[in-house]
Subunit: 89 residues, 2 copies
Amino acid sequence: MIETHEIISYVAATCTTASFLPQAILTIKTKDTDGLSLGMYSLFSIGVLCWLIYGILIEDEAIYIANAITLVLAGIILSYKIYNTLFRK
Amino acid sequence: MIETHEIISYVAATCTTASFLPQAILTIKTKDTDGLSLGMYSLFSIGVLCWLIYGILIEDEAIYIANAITLVLAGIILSYKIYNTLFRK
């Protein structure tokens, strides 16, 4: 039988992974990255990449799939931020 | 002996937790939340709260401490976003 803490971990993983979707959509639509921290998205992307590698190493499909999705979304946001930082005032 | 995947998980947790610090500092300083997604910070805070509960349930100190810190930082950013959405154009 599935235990309470397992259900909570699935809800948690779904929320934290899915949360970057509305942010990526907003950033793609508005291209407004003034309020976004370059430090945050740089550190966060490195962290998620490490979680992805960790998931692959321990062969945990849920961990590496969730982090692969998050890495793509955070990577899109980071790319917009870097582009705006370099090429726009 | 500490294994490679454990070291990677510590680096990952440190990066993803610490990443919200520069974002919280930027948001407190500039109060600019136009580029921040309300959906993201709402979903993300719920997710981190679930990870915190999960850490407490399985009695994993590293998980609940990391997520408690992230929850405080994400909560600060979310509060600014809600305030600006409700009381400012």
